[in-house]
Amino acid sequence: MSNLTAQQLRQVRGLITMGVITIFAFYAFYFNSDKTESITFGFIVGNEWVLLKEWVVASKTGAGIFLICSMFGLLIGYLEFKAKRTLTFSSLIFGFGFVMSFLCWAASGKFIPFTGLLQGSLMLSIPLIFGSMSGLLCEKSGVINIAIEGQLLAAAFVSGIVASLTQNSIWGLVAAPFAGALISLLLAIFAIKYAVDQVIIGFVINVLVIGFTGFIYSELLVEYEEKWNSGPSFSSIEIPLLSKIPIIGPVLFNQTIIVYLMYVIVIVIQIALFKSKWGLRTRAVGEMPVAADSVGINVNRLRFFNVMLAGFVAGIGGAYFTIGSVGSFTKQMTAGAGFIALAGLIFGKWSPRGAVIAALFFGFADNLQSTLTIIGLAIPSEFMLMVPYVATIIAVSGVVGRVRAPAADGIPYSRGNK
């Protein structure tokens, strides 16, 4: 044991924690469970409303099956550890098994609309994914972005207004990225040009945007709602064939244009960041700007570019709040999504893939909570609501694995002044 590296020690600790949780879950959900009723999962297969499949399973049996799945995840974790790889895949399987067994125990005698649960989770994740992509673009190049909330809110605000004035959601979607970019411009000028502390400036920008949008909302959008705040919203587009895939098809491929844009953006960022010249330069500037500068990369220009790009991305995400769902804007409608997106970025260890998984997890936990509240559950919903936040604290505390930000994240760069 003594000759393990710190990283391996943490992995051992993580595996032991998973093991303990599994044993506890077996005791609580299986051996000691007094639930005798069965649970019904509803799936939408193929066309909505047409093919509804149900899967009925006894509470105890279901919990047992999924806990075996968890143990399988644990086994994979052990193999991953032996193979000196990160415990990503195994944690996912373990988490899935644990959550499902919990569900079997908690919702005994109830009906869980499984497809609806997934659809709702994705809907809640969408702005988080856009937000964390915005944070990622900034932070990979070394600029901390606390202003994600401001970017999302400003874009939601502008896209709502533009869509209402033109009565055309396309124009709203066109305007939204520019609103996000405007906030980015503020961040970039203060953080890069004036070298103001990035955490502080991001924070102040958020207050500014919350105040400004709130002001205009009360002054114009409430009073002259007909003109300023009654925009249309996008309707879903069903993609042929793909939307027919069982379970995930209706979830992933019957969405609005904003969601399809999100798929493209995430994939492009994931590939570009690790395969393109721009990606290499971005990472170099974020890790070691001095070295990047010495080979002729204009550090601050690249950072400026990335921060602006981040604004565009967050802007599309902001549009989701208004024209992507309800159409009209309400005060502080982003409700802290920007901060959760930031947490997701850190939770996902500053990688696009990780951030997406984290956002999906947050969305799932949030939606699971509301589903369980609707079907009526013994556990107070407030504690379910806390789960994503507690999970983030656990994640950043390094129980699961150490997270490390890009080395130069948050440090303004100027030549001769490291």
């Binding site: 932070e139 203060f190 502390d197 400004f212 002001f215 802290g336 806390m386 983030t392 505390s397 948050g410």
Partner: protein, 389 residues
Amino acid sequence: MNLIQKIKKNVLIPFFAFIFAFFIGGLVIVFSDPEVMSNLKSPSKFLTTALSKIGNSYLAVFQGSIFDINLARGESFFKGFYPLSETIVTATPLILTGLAVTLAFRSGLFNIGAQGQFIFGAIGASYVGFHFDLPPVIHPIVAIITGVFLAGIYGGIVGLLKAKTGAHEVIVTIMLNYIAGFFILWVLKTSVFLRPGRIDPLAPEVNPNSRLSQFLGEDLRIHVGIFIALAAALFVWWLLKKSTLGFKFRAVGANANAARSAGISIAFVTTSTMVLCGGLAGLGGAVHVLGTEYALTNNIGGSLGFDAITVALLGGAAPLGTVIAALLFAALRTGGTTLQSNTGTPAEIIQVIQALIVLFIAAPALIKGIFRLKQSSTDKTLTAKGWNG
């Protein structure tokens, strides 16, 4: 830094920041008002309506926060200061939460968690306040100590996690704010905190014995909490300037590596700073419940967490500055309410102005560039450490 430079830095820049923020705030008020904008065709009419709109708005802010001539004429001159009393009532928790952020800044920590710590302080004080029956004087003291203790632990978690695992305080405090928000929602639903006969999230009022006295009579809501807040500011000043512990705090804040080489335990400083910060914010929560609100509600924290940070930034992370900034912001806040009711201009404009003030203060280079003030080499803006710091 000589005296003139000091005055320039501490007076001139905030002054210009205020002027600027109010100027931009005025533009926002004018350009968002369809009535004023409808006069755009004739410049002179537009200018007069615009100026009168701005004038009326800012006059309402003054009337609502310092002195109301109508109240003074109506009853007594003394009564005219009712708004000032309200300003001080608003400032009291703001001073304490602001200090919680200020103290953290000086140790190189960015405490966004004042909100959560405030909530725990309020919960503790409220529970002791309504659940027990203790003699006067002792009751509020016990209630305050309970609140401070709970909040101190809540803040301490942040410091401990940072010290032991390197978890960044910004992210942890943001998360803990949400957790505290959900926690108070839950607490208010429990049978202990539910007011008999009610089903909405509202705790019983604290016992009269535990309330902080309104020393200027029942008409004015000002209570002894302001003296507690000022004493706390004095304590923070003493701690930072005169005590060994405070020296360690500042050493770590200025240069953690150097401090470590000098034998100061960073882990100890981080944890104790956050415990103290939590305690200060919790004191704010306790004082707010015992002096102003009496009953715990789920919205007791309001936007205090955000306001506390803007106050600390405006105050230059110094105790005296924080007190002054808190009073100023409280005046704007209370004035904002009057602004909304008297002129119909939404109170959110105050939030815009506050953010602008801090924006200009956080970026001295900008203001200096605009006003062509001389750049001094000793200028150091506030900094929070990046994720790896």
